[in-house]
Structure formats: structure tokens, C-alpha cells
Amino acid sequence: MKPRRIQSGFKRNGGRVVHSSKDHSTVKSLSLLKKGQRGKIVHINTKDRSMLRKLMAMGILPGLTITLIQKFPSYVFQIGASQFAIDKKMAEQIEVRPII
């Protein structure tokens, strides 16, 4: 079930935070995760078709678990057994629910 969106805002460093009433963990963009943190992908937030395709081609799809390996100098994440490197702009478009 998609979380009900009550409040959404923009963080200064470009990430998106969406608060949900259904569960108490916030959905945030990959760029806001901490290094080493894992999350469940919720949504790809982009209107750009080619960007959408590129992200999907890397395996970024709702329901999958993503691990953020590092943030600097580029974002490196792992889904399943594959690792990918992307820049901040792309990382901001992946919305995940952090797994503590």
C-alpha cells in the first residue's frame, strides 16, 4: 500500500522527504541515506523518460532492497549482487524507506 502523504518538503541539500502516517519511517531519497545504510525502494521520482529508463535498467524498482555503499565522490549502491556508481542528481530521484 502506498503511504498516505500528509506533508512533503524539500531539504536544502536537494533530497526529498515525505512523511507518512501509515508507518513511522520516513521515505527519503537515496542521497540522504547514511553510508552503509540499507533501504527498500519505494518509488522513482522523475518525469524524465530517459532518466527513468536508465534507473530501471540498473535494477532500481520498488520493493527491492538497496544498500548505499558510499556517497563521496560519487554515490555507489548495491542491489542484489550488482554495484553501480551514479552522481548526486540521479541519487536524489530514488526514493527509499530506510531499513534500520
Binding site: 523518460r49 527513468l52 524498482l61 520493493g63 565522490p73 555507489v76 554495484q83 553501480f84 552522481d87
Partner: protein, 489 residues
Amino acid sequence: MSERIFGKIKYEDPVDFSIETALEKIEAMLVGDYAISKRGIGLLLLQEDESISADVRLKEGENFALIQEIIEEAKKHYSHPLDYIITVRRQQEAGEILSHVTEPVSHGKTTFAERLSRLMMQPLTGIPILLLILYWGLYKFVGEFGAGTVVGFIEGTVFEKYINPFVSGWFIRLVPWHTVQDLFVGEYGMITLGIRYAVALILPIVAFFFFVFSIIEDTGYLPRLAMLIDRLFKKIGLSGRAVIPMVLGFGCDTMATMVTRTLPTKRERIISTMLLALAVPCSAQIGVIIALLEGRRAALFIWTSVTFLVFLFIGFLAAQVLPGERPSFYMEVPPLRFPKIYNVLVKTYVRIRWYFIEVLPVFVLASFIIWLGQITGLFNIVVNLLKKPVVMMGLPPEAAKVFLFGFFRRDYGAAGLFDMNKSGALNGVQLVVACIALTLFLPCVAQFLMNVKERGLKTGLSISAFTLFFSFTVAFIVNYLLVLFGVVL
């Protein structure tokens, strides 16, 4: 485990016009001949695949407009792009299938490869690793061993002692006309210079470079390098993906320019072509310059720093000036693997073969053009034109010939410098200035032709014109500063 038969994925949704409905309607309308099932075509149309849409438009004629309407109607009933919905549905189905037959196993310990990979990707350890690779791979192996020892042997011993005198003697006896003799076995003869250079000087150096590059490539290191320098490259209008052509440029700029085709935007292609033409020295050049500046560590350091700074500076300027969207960076990072000898040898062989086929004719052609230029006197005219700027850089006027040769092959020019240095005509400062000017100088004939082929005549010519003036300007400034501060190298 429950029995489940996996058939086609149904895209039924609780909306008035679901994807499944759209698929049924489209399937009914397709009359043309397609290589895959009509349902497959329908799915691709709903995903707005460009090449399939064009194909269907051709095959269905008037019906295509009706198909478009069906697609638009379906789109209205979903809050996300259909591409997304279909992909997510497929992934769910795939996950479902896998859950019946596989079990996730988590690895307790991190392997050595993974640990090394992490070290390579963090700047604190990654940059020293990169510098080590550059030092041992490029400088020691390609530069000192390849350009120094191996070339010294092939050129000095094999060619100079045996092949050249033999061929010259034989030729002179066969062909009595002096001019024709000159063409083939004279000072700049096709055989004595052209082929000798291609086989004895360039081929070994380039072979060594391709060998090292293939090893690095086979380990999977390059994507890690790309993610390290992406931020830096963004400042010069490129993305980390451009690391591949740039690194190849250290082998052969001409081949690297061809590879710039893989960059996604036009802006990136132009910037990378220009930087390759200006500030990325090819392996042949590197080899000869390292040999030239041997023993003068400070001079080598200055040459490296100036070239690197020019690269960043001009890249930054170009990024400000040229319009266009900023590139995005995404790259798969494969696991680090120990290189396979077979892979490395095959890759090296293929590249050497390409190089030989593309480049050897250019060498021979260059000899021919020089010969032609000499007998028509055109040669001397151009050399005289170059004398003025050359002297302004603080170099002796004889160095003008070096730059003219540098146009044909950068290493011809560097080799000319070599001879001048041996005869003691240049001091340390002049040597560095000449090397800097030669490196930044306009692209060699082969690269120029590739620039024109890939980017068009106008861009190719502007790049050559710019590098010509800029190289002399920078050399002038460097010379001025070194002399001003009384630096002795």
C-alpha cells in the same frame, strides 16, 4: 510448495481502461508482419519504444493513429508512466518465480576483491593507488622499459646496424635517380624514416601501452576510476564516463577521438575531442619525452604539471562557453577480477593490429609529403614562418623544423629535439619549453583527420587553429617565467 503455472503476465487493474484492455485492442489492430508476438509489440508500443513505434507506423499506415489513441487512453488511467508500471509488474513476477526456486544466501565475510575495491573507490586510498598505477604502469613500464630499453634495442641495434644500411645500399644500386632514392632511403625516406619509425619506435611503445591498458581494463578498474574523477570531470563539462577515451588518449589520441563517439551529448564530444587534441599526450610522445628529459626530474615535473593545469583550465573554460545540458553519470561497477592472460593478449593484439593498419600508412604518407615539401621548397617556406614564434619562446631557430615535423607525427618532432639535445644545442629550460609546446601543439595529421571525420570540418579546423596559437602562448609564458626566476634545470 504450491504448484503454480507461470503464463503470460496479465496487466489487469481496477481501472476503466487497463493495460490489458489496451493490449487486446492493439493486438486486434496489428495486421503487419512482426518478428515477435503481437502482444510483445503491443507492450513495446505502450512503453513508447521509439524504434518499434517507427516500425509499426510504417507497417500499419492509417491504423497507427487509432493505435496512438488507445495508448493515450490507457496512459490517462495510470498515475505513472506505463513503462514504469509494466517494468514493475514484470519484476514482481520475476521475484515471485525466483522465490519458488532460490534462497538468498548472505555472505558473512567480505572477500579480498571487495576490500580492495572499496580501497580503490575511496579518494583517500584510491588516489594513491591511481598514482601508483600511473607510476609503475605508464612511467616505468611503458616509458623507461618500453621507450627506453626495448626501443633502444630495436632502433639502435636492429635497424641502425643491420636493416637500414642493407636496404639503403641495395636501393641505391637499384635506382640511380637521387630524388627517388631520397624518397625511399634518404634522410626522411619512406623506409629509412617512415617505416623505421613505425616499427622500431612507435609500435613497441604503443604495444606496451596497449598491454598495460588491457590488463587494467580486464581487472575492472576503469569504472572505479570513473567514479573517482566524476566530480572533477563535471567541472570541465564531462562526466566520469569520459575517462575511457581520455585514458585511451594516453595510448593514441586518434583512437581515443574515435571512442568519444560513445559520449552521450554533443557538448561532451566536442570538449573531449578538444582536450585530447590539446593536452593529452599519446604514448609515443610520452615515451620520447621521458627519454628526452631523462635525469631531469624537475623538468619532467614541470612538463607534467603544466600539461595537467592546461587540461583543467581549458576544460573549465570550454564548459563555461559551450552551451548544452550537463551530463549525468551512471556506470556499473563490476567486481574486481584477476586479469586473464588470454583476454589481455587478445585485446592487445586487436588494438595493435588496428593501430598498424591505421597508422603505418600515415607514416609512409608523411614521409612522402615531407619529401614533396622539400623538393618544392614549400618545406623551407613553412619552416621560416615558424622561426619567429620559435625564437620568441626562447628556442634556437633550428627548432622550427621540430614543430613542422610535429604536425605529421608528434614523435618525429620529439625525435628532432632528441638530436638537437644530443648535440648540446638546448639547455634544460629550453628543453622543457620545447616539450610543452610540442605536447600542446596542434594534433598530428592522423588525429586531425579523425577530428574532421568525427566532429566536422569546421570544428576540426578550429581545434587545430586554437591549439596552434595556445601552445605557443603557453610555451612563451613558461619560458618567460622560468627565465625571470632564473631557474636552471
